[in-house]
Symmetry: C2
Subunit: 199 residues, 2 copies
Amino acid sequence: MLDAAATVFSRRGYHRATVDEIADAVGISKPMVYLYFGSKEDLFGAVVHREATRLNRTITDAVAAGTTPYEQLRRGLEAFLMFVAEHRDGWSVLYRRARSQGGPVARGVNAIRARTIDVIAGLLERAIRETDADLPPRQDLIAMAHAIVGGCEALADWMLDAKDVDPTVMADRVIDLSWFGLSGLFDIPARSTRPASHT
Amino acid sequence: MLDAAATVFSRRGYHRATVDEIADAVGISKPMVYLYFGSKEDLFGAVVHREATRLNRTITDAVAAGTTPYEQLRRGLEAFLMFVAEHRDGWSVLYRRARSQGGPVARGVNAIRARTIDVIAGLLERAIRETDADLPPRQDLIAMAHAIVGGCEALADWMLDAKDVDPTVMADRVIDLSWFGLSGLFDIPARSTRPASHT
DNA sequence: CGGTAATATTACGCACGAGTAGGTTACGCT
DNA sequence: AGCGTAACCTACTCGTGCGTAATATTACCG
């Protein structure tokens, strides 16, 4: 039921999707949709909420399995990309569609996203604290968190089209890019190495 | 005229913006809008096209002023962020709104975006070619280009809210993040250094 | 100053889609 | 069987917003 709605919202977006279309996809008729959920927006909210919960649980579990911030970032990103690869409609509706919907649902998703960014900024801060380097201004950490999250989202979108991409491998690449930078490509075989401070 | 339309589309999104609203904002009445542009979608297309052209010119000029790929990336990003800071409505309508619109305009913008990503992948390839390192698989370069573009877009969005952010400084940070990686934060004062192979 | 073209406006038609009223079937219970 | 109820559908209302026809106003020229 929610699955069918997710598929339709994913393909058409919130505004272009009609309740009739969703009802058809489910195999029931429109008044039933209004019986189970109160309105189009509520239905959309229900779909988004379910996907957000799933994604959140997936990532939280993965992050909890890591010890160092580096491990946590890596595992979290892997879990995220695998989730997207397995729940294409879910991801698409959750971010691309929900964020541009305009109503309360969009605000909710944006709030969740903002919290995620804060968490990542916190991870970065912890990572740096564990070394003897100076802590950059908080503003910079937040900026980087934004960039990281945005980059991951873009990768996720790309994965939806380019089928032959392994989420795990890609997660490694991105983590390496963030951690070692492009300079890592020059002389280090970046994969399978770890930051010196954590080995 | 296009300015007013851009403002409305930016604030409300394509679907929620009404032609009447735009006409009011301009100070004329609806049939005039239909006289000048043929339809709502055409008007939207015109707005998007103008902003895309402006942005493209800005970035192209900036990139042309750089010599090494590193310089080009840095200048291009700076130009991009400054453009966004100065044309908030333009950016917002161009990407956030246009890409989720669903029609031909969205496809056009996505095509432009895809070309941008290709260009960046090309820059990365050139950068690596200039060293003696092995060239990573093309697929990896494209993935990174996606991540970089996505990260920059996210930063741009963030700048729209957080007013007290200097685009130039942020561009530096991001370039450093990409080039040197987070490890750069640990012991290198990343600002104002350059990749060894280009000094 | 009259006529005509350009320019704008008001007021409408029309389609589409969210939400609903009222009818219909299926089924259990007495 | 007959009654009540739950589940469901067809067919409608109604608001909204795109696009336009009929109409008014201004500008210009003989």
